[in-house]
């Protein structure tokens, strides 16, 4: 039971770390999509099939397409895909900050006794999830729908507003 988790974790972390160090923007985006798929595999491993499907649909399917479109829309030539080397100082600072956070988190996890009794995997069938969504969480579902609508409309407005000549023509 542990071995698949370790494999999934190592693969996901390695893919994400490589993606964050690559120079080519398309390669980075594709590798990060791979790490999102790894997270979906973790959800499968933990028995949360519905969350895994949501992860695959939303991240591996939708967000990845939006990211790739953004990459392709914000370049003028092939050379733009090669990200210029970043400042060494900023990279070192980021590594330092990330290492400090990693140390604190690992220390906290190791120092905490988390030996909860090995419980059986809770089962969340699609029927139960649907009844919860439409019953106890109906108000939250509506709020999320409103958030998504407003965010997507706002995204269209932000991306289509053209301020050439000091006036906005998309309002």
């Amino acid at each position: 039971m542990i071995l698949p988790l370790v494999i999934i974790a190592l693969l996901t972390i390695a893919v994400a770390a490589i993606a964050m160090t690559l120079r080519n923007l398309i390669h980075s985006a594709l590798l990060l999509i791979g790490s999102w798929a790894g997270i979906a595999a973790f959800y499968f491993w933990a028995g949360a099939e519905f969350a895994a499907f949501a992860q695959v649909l939303v991240y591996v399917g939708a967000v990845s397409m939006v990211v790739l479109f953004a990459v392709l829309l914000t370049r003028r030539s092939r050379a733009d895909l090669e990200v210029a080397p970043d400042a060494i100082g900023r990279g070192l600072g980021a590594m330092l900050a990330g290492g400090a956070v990693l140390g604190v988190l690992f220390g906290a996890v190791f120092a905490t006794r988390l030996d909860v009794a090995p419980t059986a995997a809770p089962t969340a069938s699609v029927r139960a999830i649907g009844q919860q969504l439409m019953g106890a969480h109906a108000a939250s579902l509506l709020v999320v729908g409103v958030i998504l609508t407003v965010a997507l409309l706002g995204a269209v407005v932000i991306a289509s507003t053209d301020r050439e000549g000091g006036k906005e023509d998309a309002r």
Binding site: L5, Y43, V63, L73, G98, L105, A151, I158
Partner: protein, 105 residues
């Protein structure tokens, strides 16, 4: 010492969070910074599922609910973020964060 599966999951999500943090802090490309933030969000979702799986919960679907709502909000955030990237690109013809230092275009 032997680690419980819950601790392994927490270590996994901590490492993923830190990879996203380093990426978001060190890269100067706006899209990569946004992807680093997305990675950190995903690492937080991992914790929801891990605690749901390995601890007794009052309702059998609590963790999955959390993750579904979190994914929905993250999708909205990604859409707005990438629209902002495109808006920045239209302003200054590149997406380097160091050059996006004006509030008024």
């Amino acid at each position: 010492m032997s680690l419980s599966p819950l601790q392994l999951c927490l270590l996994f999500s901590s490492a993923l969070f830190c990879v996203g943090l380093v990426g978001a802090l060190s890269r100067s490309n706006t899209i990569l910074v946004l992807l680093g933030v997305e990675l950190m969000l995903n690492a937080a979702n991992l914790n929801f599922i891990a605690f749901w799986r390995f601890s007794p919960s009052p309702s059998p679907a609590t963790g999955v609910m959390f993750v579904i709502f979190s994914i929905a909000v993250a999708a909205a955030e990604a859409a707005v973020g990438l629209a902002l990237v495109i808006a920045i690109y239209r302003h200054q013809k590149n997406i380097r964060l160091q050059e996006a230092n004006r509030l008024k275009g």
